[in-house]
């Protein structure tokens, strides 16, 4: 077996040193009734060729998003990732290292985490960011819990245009903690009134921009209302490329920014692993969840990095920790960091402009299709269209023709007839004019 270096002779010699007659003697603490004598009902070992053949066959039973026109968004976006990203993250020293608990031999990981924290803080317009969370929805739930700790209040208002899966994740993660969630009704208008929902027990208001339906929000006034009432504003971002085109959440009053970083460097991966972004004000840092890397010096006075403020974390604080999170999403944070490094200021702004331009072109094209109406007044690279027929069926029909038309809203919010004809459509730098034509033609056909 190619991954196991011990030979039969080695095993015999080692048992002799231990003084055991057989390896089974070493397992004698397992109750006899629970020991497995033979092999479990699974196939035996296989060579690389056979395994690769089987897995490749399985992969071939999927239709990759890039195999044809794809306009899927809804919290995960298809972007071009420079080849250098995947090359660099496969370096052994990044790929096969552990959490940097021994800083003297982990400066590589610590340095990229410090750079990642800086990049995220810059992009969100916040003072500090952590070394990443699992993904966007759990980051949002953590933001709500953090607001609860900071304000010592027990309510949270969730916008009706927050990604439905994020709303559900927040509900799941807070359901046993006596938190009162005020779930605003689904809002596709981009004009909901959240300020009127704030009460004396509101710890935070959670709002997404660009929101689930693509609408953009200036949160400045809402932030003011929150702060006057002693509550915090949590801003959620699921499309980080938008940072290159839009005013930063930190410049619109956000106290905590929670987001999904997948678009930059990570790839679609059928939903995971992704990388959660989490940023806040520096005076809130001790209530922040997750790992933090800080700057310091070594015994010779040279600049160095180290994990810090660990007393917030579970391995020290146990049940009083700010979160139970242990890992971050290190390698995905590295991918994000490399992609952002390659883009730089000019590249990210240009990428964002390309995305917006693609979405505007597509919106104009689709709006001209009979039976299709663009709902949004504002958007970045994703918007909602209303079809003359149920969107789910249209998507299935077009999928059979090789077009991934978008995300039917009903897939995420199934029981609302008013939403049945809504389709989320995203356009990125990867979408060509020919693909846009194909979508417009396809929609013409299915809505006719």
């Amino acid at each position: 077996m190619r991954y196991l270096p011990l030979t039969g002779d080695d095993r015999r010699d080692m048992l002799a040193v231990i003084g055991a007659a057989s390896v089974d003697e070493l397992f004698r603490d397992i109750p006899a009734s629970a020991r497995i004598d033979g092999l479990l009902d699974l196939p035996n070992h296989q060579g690389e060729l056979e395994v690769e053949r089987a897995m490749t066959a399985m992969a071939a039973r999927n239709r990759p998003a890039g195999a044809g026109p794809s306009f899927l968004g809804g919290g995960a976006y298809r972007h071009h990732i420079p080849a250098a990203v995947d090359h660099l993250i496969q370096r052994s020293e990044f790929l096969t290292s552990y959490t940097p608990y021994q800083p003297e031999i982990s400066q590589g990981t610590l340095q990229f985490l410090f750079e990642f924290q800086t990049q995220v803080a810059m992009l969100t317009g916040m003072e500090v960011a952590n070394a990443s969370m699992y993904e966007g929805a759990t980051a949002t739930a953590e933001a709500v819990l953090m607001a609860q700790r900071l304000t010592r209040r027990h309510g949270a208002v969730l916008s009706g245009s927050l990604h439905p899966h994020y709303r559900e994740t927040v509900r799941t993660q807070t359901q046993f903690l006596g938190l009162h969630l005020d779930l605003a009704p689904t809002d596709i208008s981009g004009g909901e009134d959240l300020a009127s929902r704030i009460t004396a027990d509101t710890a935070c208001v959670v709002v997404q921009t660009p929101d689930f339906f693509g609408n953009l929000h200036d949160t400045t006034d809402l932030a003011k209302e929150c702060h006057e009432a002693g509550a915090l504003l949590v801003v959620v971002v699921t499309e980080p490329v938008s940072f290159g085109a839009l005013k930063a959440p930190g410049d619109m009053g956000a106290d905590i920014v929670a987001g999904e970083g997948q678009s930059l460097g990570v790839g679609l991966n059928f939903g995971g692993p992704y990388v959660g972004l989490f940023a806040t004000r520096s005076n809130f840092v001790r209530q922040m969840p997750g790992r933090l890397c800080g700057e310091t010096v070594d015994a010779d006075g040279r600049r160095a990095w180290v994990l810090t403020l660990s007393t917030r974390e579970q391995h020290i604080r146990r049940q009083k920790a700010t979160s139970n999170i242990c890992t971050n999403s290190g390698l995905c944070a590295l991918s994000f960091g490399i992609h952002v490094a390659l883009l730089g200021e000019a590249g990210l702004r240009r990428l964002a402009a390309l995305n917006h331009a693609a979405a505007v072109r597509l919106a104009d094209r689709l709006d001209a299709v009979p039976g299709v109406r663009v709902v949004n007044r504002t958007f970045f690279n994703e918007f909602t269209v209303e079809l003359a027929a149920p969107a789910a069926a249209a998507v299935d029909t077009l999928a059979a023709d090789g077009i991934l038309a978008g995300v039917p809203v009903s897939r995420l919010v199934p029981d609302d007839p008013a939403l049945a004809n809504l389709l989320l459509v995203a356009a990125t730098e990867t979408n060509t004019d020919a693909e846009m034509d194909a979508l417009a033609t396809g929609l013409t056909r299915v809505t006719a």
Partner: protein, 505 residues
């Protein structure tokens, strides 16, 4: 640029000093060539960014060189034995990486129509089948993103089951030797934590559990094999006791590598166990994630498993994404999408490579190697408990008594000898714990070399060669770092050098 010049002056051989990206990036270049955007009528509604982000501009060769240079400052399992107890730093096969990158897996959007993702759902379903078979448990929930997320998944199911039965139970029993994630997770589910002391053999007595049981106990979180590297020999009695009291048995499966193919948690009375795919099933640790922590459930807890579920129907695989059908009683969704697909494809590749026979050999070799270390080193270092151990050998600070050398010093001296230290000061219940996990992917020559180095260091410590330890590490890119300064005055990001150019806040 002066900063960069200073750094360059400090190159030593292959150790290349590398500043932060922000120290040398300049505007006016990018490592990505993009076309000019077509002019369009903006739909940004007046929310256009006007302030600069502050990101440095770099070309591709600069970025490659930057990350290659800093990578060289990391220790890795590809480079050498990585004996971190409780972390299972085993070899990460490269076939796994290749398979995970097939466009048929990597380039799938999570919200594609089911007709276009049958292979992906099959992969998840097949992995779940392997996990069900290996654990002897009927249902596996795939969404959890990591071990701690899996714990949350398990405890939420327990809480949901009690709630559904109209039971208000408030207390969770957790051994003092547990990972910190266990009590932190229990707190997130609104539970009080009641610590259970271990016995002189490093295990939990069923008598100690019985003493704590009552109608308010929701369950127990027990790591088995436990964090001291020992198998909880009374585990079945513990499970019976907790079940008799109406509670559930959560098993922290961090140490599954020791028993995979040799014993099944389902046969030990476990109701829920998370499986760290990044430990037992070799997905890379990546400097601290991403991991994956699927949870196997007993029949009693299965109805409460999180969404989505992957189910097999007559005409293929299907996702249950809402509370309906088999998911009607689910405690809900715990992340945006289905799970850590990139980890699933790697783990499934690994499992198929090893097969039933190979996985059993994995456990045997891992346990054999740990016992070989324990036996070879117990007289040079000191071991608080007798063997046999499972896949980790636990040593403690007793052998350093009176030397003036701490476990931390000893660990840092190992670095000078080319080794990453074992896990130190965990578990907390053993003074100066040194939890050593060689894994099954080390050759005997590699283990013997490691043993020789530890013997040499132990002898030096006992001989009073104090400076060698206190000054360690001396041969690394950076020497001991000042953690106190980092914590007292946290600097958590780069800021521009001149005060007027401070980031806008």
């Amino acid at each position: 640029m002066t900063d960069q010049a200073a750094h360059q002056a400090a190159h030593r051989g292959l150790d290349l000093e590398e500043p932060l990206l922000f120290d040398f990036g300049e505007t006016g270049r990018s490592g990505v060539d993009l076309p000019d955007p077509e002019p369009v009528a903006s739909r940004l509604g007046g929310l256009e960014r006007t302030a600069p982000i502050g990101l440095p501009g770099l070309s591709e060769p600069q970025v490659i060189r930057h990350f290659v240079r800093i990578s060289r400052n990391n220790y890795s399992i590809d480079g050498n034995l990585y004996p971190l107890g409780s972390c299972t730093m085993k070899h990460n096969p490269r076939l796994n990486e290749k398979v995970a990158r097939l466009p048929g897996f990597a380039d799938l959007h999570p919200l594609q129509p089911e007709s276009t993702i049958q292979g992906a759902l099959e992969a998840i379903h097949t992995l779940a089948h392997w996990l069900r078979t290996l654990t002897g448990m009927p249902v596996v929930a795939m969404p959890p993103a990591a071990g701690a997320h899996g714990e949350l998944c398990g405890l939420m199911a327990i809480r949901a089951a009690h709630d559904a039965a109209g039971q208000n139970r408030t207390r969770v029993l957790i051994p003092e030797s547990a990972h910190g994630t266990n009590p932190a997770t229990a707190a997130l589910c609104g539970y009080e934590v009641d610590p259970i002391p271990g016995n002189a053999r490093g295990r939990i007595d069923v008598a100690a559990i019985r003493e704590k049981l009552g109608p308010d106990v929701a369950g127990i979180m027990l790591t088995n094999p436990n964090t001291l590297g020992l198998f909880e020999s009374q585990v079945i009695e513990v499970a019976d006791a907790i079940h008799d009291a109406g509670g559930y048995f959560y098993c922290d499966g961090a140490n599954l590598n020791a028993i995979v193919g040799k014993a099944r948690p389902g046969d030990l009375g476990v109701d829920a166990i998370h499986i760290n795919l990044h430990k037992t099933f070799s997905t890379p640790h990546g400097g601290g994630g991403p991991g994956a922590g699927p949870v196997a459930f007993s029949e009693a807890l299965a109805p409460y498993a999180p969404l989505p579920l992957v189910v097999r129907g007559d005409d293929g695989f299907r996702l249950v994404e809402h509370r309906e059908g088999q998911g009607a009683a689910s405690f809900g969704r715990m992340r945006a999408f289905h799970g850590q697909m990139g980890m699933f494809t790697r783990a499934l590749t690994y499992m198929q490579s090893h097969g039933a026979d190979g996985l059993r050999q994995v456990a045997e070799d891992a346990v054999l190697s740990a016992n070989y270390l324990l036996e070879s080193l117990k007289d040079d270092l000191s071991a608080p408990f007798d063997g046999p151990c499972m896949h980790e050998a636990l040593f403690d600070e007793a052998f350093l008594q009176g030397t003036g050398i701490s476990v931390l010093d000893f660990a840092k001296a190992m670095i000078d000898e080319g080794y990453h230290p074992m896990t130190v000061y965990f578990p907390l219940v053993v003074h100066g714990a040194m939890l050593t996990e060689p894994t099954e992917t080390e050759s005997k020559q590699s283990l013997d070399r490691f043993i020789a180095v530890l013997r040499k260091l132990a002898a030096a410590a006992k001989a009073g060669d104090v400076n060698r330890f206190r000054d360690a590490p001396r041969h690394t890119f950076r020497r001991r770092v000042d953690e106190t300064a980092a914590a007292r005055n946290p600097v958590l990001r780069w800021t521009p050098p001149t005060p007027d150019a401070q980031a806008a806040e």
